[in-house]
């Protein structure tokens, strides 16, 4: 493989041809013709179908399994049980707590127990209904409060204690001193109900046995790399014998970023039956896969000066995690990590707890762990502004975090366009003139947010690239681009192609993509944490620049033009000073192939190291942060509590739009999803009366009853794209897939206050909550609907981390595990080997 012979020479300045333009997405044609092959569209000779038999009880020991009736179904081929796939897996190294099929106990209604396979899907379903499973019920837990009160029996035999999966507590700077110096102290409690991704495509996976002991899995997954890892582990096959291909995802939003039971089951069954096996989940099963928004109860306390300067903040969060770990440890940290990157918090205390409950596991949904505390923070700020007699926009503008600074919790902020975002939505909506001035029943609310452009650390700590891109160029003049990224609708294929085409000066049509195939493409960690544009973009940039360098050398020699004068544009390589003097791109590649031999280049990306060195500092750092501000106008009917969003203004600092149409699509899609969360969406559960039943079930696992907004529920949206380029991003680009969701829910809550003078301190905001708060207001009580108190949790001793302002070094001063951890981090092994090493030291598992 060719490597650049020297550092790339700068190209003469030219206008971009593709970047920044609203070009048609590269998969656009296939998506409008029905040609895109989603996983369930695949069929193979001799393909059969499997179905998971899922638990109908919330928590129990499996007593017996009887296949005798199932076996009688015509077309029945066989079954798989938990004994055949005994090795646990999970997305995080610290919570390898899932089994492809439950070996001995079930932890929620929907937990897969066995799988049956048959010639047709009809027969697989009939057979699944006829499998008889006998259970011995165990007590169930449905909330954080119950988990705190019920340490035994444990849902898992690991975790911090009892049914508490994870406790984190940390202090940055002198929080008590900050409260003492404040003129006013504000305290609030908020609740954010869980909700789910509801991608239109139900998860599907097909496994095809190939050669001897090889298997290929086609799946609707956002993270083929992690599925690859999990398969290798559970199937006990070398990763080199397993190929995972991520098909185009029919929507993901975080819901397809864990390795899932059905993916492992089809692979195992394909090897067992010697034929291709498909599982496409039913809509109900998608609700059981879940991994959606954690229900979070929050308490926030802020000290503030009269001039609007925050002196200190304390945030406590309690997460209802569901039955498995999933990304939960990271989610817990995320409920605290990004509070500091929007407004100056000189001293900050964060305490979080995640409980195991007998419900489908929660995980990462768009905004991963941050929409809940962002909701709390932004509504809290609105109340503070009102109490201080300030306009909410001015209060925020006066306390903005500054670009190129390090926060109290050691996050490095780069470009920071929040000021421009706020100014844009405030001007666009007339917020300064209209807030507080609209007639009863109409209101405006402002809120902001910020999100990562990819997590600074990979899930498995190592020194390898988080993203890799490989280019192959040949005499055809075409450029083949290989990358492990997976297209989930966000446009990652288009960004990858555009970056390469821009650098090489070719057309998008000259690019051929091969993506998301663990056999053929360099590793990319996946489409999660808003990492693809920045990380894949940078890797593609490097690969393309290396190719350009080689071509430039060859062309420079052939044309006898200094390399620094060569321009790559319009599918040509030519002399900037004498544009007629040049070669077609194809001829340029031919010259290069003749000079250097077969042409391929690679690019890779590793994020810069974050300055934080304390335990937990791995969650929150990112190469860059995007910023968003939104104003929502609502109308509220005081007689019924019914409310509607009337208009949304949103401004998002994307650094640089690589394709503005795709960026607008992400912004508007985020607005939609945020409105869905605040208007109606709920992953809610129901217990039946305990004296009659042990049931603890999802209230409504259907598209009809899990409400998601229709065309008629979506208000007009005015979108402003703010471009404050970040040096870390390719062409200055930052993320846009998740950040724009964050301000929507609090902006709505603040607008409802402006409209009718009541606070609903929880999400979603149902009309009965507004009406109850209005009734309370009429009676002279506190005009509020929301949770009353935060539960008593023993958070233990806080990790004490001096801030940069205090002259800290990024480390905690009281972390007794620090010495060992530092040693482990410098090693090149994965988390798994570190975990094993820790076990030997009897210190328990580390966090990410």
């Amino acid at each position: 493989m060719a490597n650049p012979l020297r550092k790339p020479e700068p190209e003469p300045q030219r206008e971009p041809n593709i970047i920044g333009k609203p070009f048609r997405r590269v998969d656009g044609r296939a998506k409008v013709t029905g040609a895109t092959r989603f996983a369930d569209d695949l069929a193979f000779p001799r393909m059969c179908f499997a179905r998971l038999v899922r638990s109908t009880v919330p928590h129990a020991i499996i007593v017996s399994i009887d296949f005798s009736e199932a076996e009688k179904v015509p077309g029945y081929l066989g079954a798989l049980t938990g004994e055949e796939v005994p090795i646990p897996f999970g997305i995080l190294p610290v919570s390898q707590d899932e089994h492809a099929l439950c070996p001995d106990r079930v932890r929620f209604v929907g937990d897969p127990v066995v799988a049956v396979a048959a010639v047709t899907e009809d027969a697989a379903y009939e057979a699944a209904l006829r499998v008889k499973i006998e259970y011995a019920p165990l007590p169930t837990i449905s909330s954080v409060e119950e988990a705190l009160a019920t340490p035994e029996p444990r849902i898992h035999d690991y975790g911090d204690h009892g049914n508490i999966h994870k406790v984190v507590s940390m202090t940055f700077g002198e929080v008590e001193k900050g409260f003492a110096e404040a003129d006013e102290i504000f305290e609030d409690v908020f609740f954010y109900e869980g909700n789910t991704h509801l991608p239109m495509e139900q998860h599907s996976a097909v496994a095809v046995p190939e050669d001897d002991d090889r298997v290929t899995l086609y799946s609707s997954t956002q993270t083929p790399h992690y599925v690859h890892r999990a398969l290798s582990k559970v199937l006990e096959l070398p990763a080199s014998r397993i190929r995972v291909v991520a098909c185009s995802n029919g929507g993901g939003f975080g819901g397809k970023s864990d390795p899932f039971n059905h993916e492992i089951v089809v692979a195992k069954l394909a090897l067992k039956l010697g034929r291709p096996v498909k599982i496409t989940l039913s809509r109900e099963e998608v609700f059981y896969c879940h991994r959606g928004r954690h229900p979070v109860l929050m308490a926030v306390k802020t000290g503030i000066k009269k001039d609007g300067t925050i002196t200190a903040q304390r945030l406590r969060t309690a997460l209802d995690g569901g039955a498995y770990g999933s990304y939960g440890v990271a989610s817990t940290y995320y409920t605290g990590a990004l509070q500091t990157v929007t407004y100056k918090l000189p001293a900050y205390e964060f305490q979080g707890v995640r409980a195991f409950t007998n419900k489908p596991p929660c995980g990462p949904k768009r905004g991963h762990g941050t929409p809940q505390p962002r909701f709390g923070f932004e509504v809290h700020l609105d109340k503070i502004a009102v109490a201080l007699g300030k306009n909410p926009a001015d209060l925020r503008l006066g306390m903005l975090a500054e670009p190129d600074t390090v926060t109290a919790n050691w996050l490095k902020i780069g470009s920071m366009g929040l000021r421009q975002c706020i100014e844009a939505v405030v001007a666009g909506s007339g917020f300064r003139e209209r807030w507080g001035q609209l007639p009863e029943g109409r209101g405006l609310g402002l809120a902001c947010g910020s999100y990562l452009c990819g997590a600074g650390l990979p899930i498995y700590w190592n020194h390898m690239p988080q993203s890799g891109v490989m280019l192959k160029l040949d005499r055809s003049g075409g450029v083949a681009v290989f990358c492990g990224e997976s297209e989930i609708g966000q446009g990652s294929d288009s960004i990858l192609a555009a970056v390469v085409a821009e650098v090489l000066g070719v057309a998008l049509g000259d690019i051929r993509l091969c993506v998301a195939d663990t056999d053929l493409t360099p590793v990319d960690l996946g489409s999660y944490s808003s990492r693809v544009t920045l990380m894949v973009g940078n890797a593609a940039l490097q690969a393309a620049e290396r190719a350009r360098e080689l071509i430039a050398q060859a062309v420079s020699q052939q044309l006898e033009v200094p390399q620094s004068r060569l321009v790559f544009a319009e599918r040509r390589v030519f002399d900037a000073e004498e544009p007629d003097k040049g070669l077609t791109f194809q001829d340029a590649v031919i010259a290069t192939e003749a000079r250097f031999g077969t042409l391929a280049t690679t690019g890779s990306y590793i994020p810069p190291r974050s300055p934080g060195r304390y335990r937990g500092a791995g969650v929150g750092p990112s190469p860059a942060y995007s910023y968003t501000a939104s104003v929502v106008e609502v109308e509220v009917d005081p007689l019924t509590g019914l409310w509607n969003p009337v208009h949304v203004w949103i401004a998002h600092d994307v650094g640089k739009s690589l394709n503005p149409v795709l960026v607008l699509g992400q912004v508007e899609g985020s607005v939609y999803m945020g409105l869905g969360e605040v208007m109606m969406e709920e992953q809610a559960f129901r217990r039946l009366p305990r004296h009659l039943s042990n049931a603890l079930v999802h209230k409504h696992p259907s598209i009809l009853e899990y409400k998601s907004p229709t065309f008629l529920d979506m208000p007009p949206v005015t979108t402003y794209l703010i471009e404050d380029p970040d040096p870390q991003g390719p062409f200055g680009a930052k993320e846009v897939g998740q950040g724009p969701l964050l301000p929507i829910m609090p902006a709505v809550a603040n607008a409802i206050w402006d409209a009718v003078g009541v606070r609903v301190d929880q999400v979603p905001i149902h009309p009965h909550m507004v009406l109850r708060a209005l009734e309370a207001k009429t009676k002279g009580h506190e005009p509020r609907f929301g949770p009353k108190r935060f539960p008593d949790v023993d958070f233990g001793e806080n990790l004490i981390v001096p801030t940069p302002e205090q002259g800290g070094d990024g480390k905690a001063i009281n972390d007794y595990k620090e010495t060992l951890r530092a040693g482990m981090r410098s090693a090149s092994g994965t988390m798994m080997s570190r975990e094993e090493a820790l076990k030997k030291k009897k210190l328990g598992a580390l966090t990410t």
Binding site: R14, T33, E423, R548, P660, V663, S702
Partner: protein, 199 residues
Amino acid sequence: MDMNYLTTLKLHINGEYRPVVFATHHTLLEVLREECGLTGTKHGCELGECGTCTILVDGRPVLSCLVLAADMEGKRIETVEGMQHGNELHPLQAAFADLGAAQCGYCTPGILMTAKALIAENPKPRPAEISEALAGNLCRCTGYHKIVEGVEWAAAKMRGEEGTPPEKVFYGSPVPDPHPPAPLSRPLPPPSPGEGGDR
């Protein structure tokens, strides 16, 4: 399978006759995808709740998950695969691809079919009418506005109107000027290699 539970029919799909044998209890969705290989029609719930599987029967949008293929004798079936004219995209398809109306693309076939029926009946639909006609089709990616714009502009093109959508459809709304102007967080950096000198 008992022959009493099988149906043999000549289905009329996208202008072509296709003899098919299928289980009588299979819906048109299943027969299209599994017997005819027309996987362009997707499914999201199979219970009539999401609109993903919408196709046209005699020109009217229906949910193929709740239609028996056995009832399709003599009916004219249209799916997304039949929209193109030769190798040329239907104006709706082109507008959806260009204006960002398709993100993940999974709800897209059902929405395209519904929109096609709408334009056939109402060549100049207003945005509210487009939303009303598409109110049975859920999309989780776009926030719907790009779809409404796509239908509007495709309809305009089909009416033979010239012109392109307004700038804001491609670039967002012009950012209002704040007073005083907010500064960038840092001076613009000099152009670097690979950044194409776009600043």
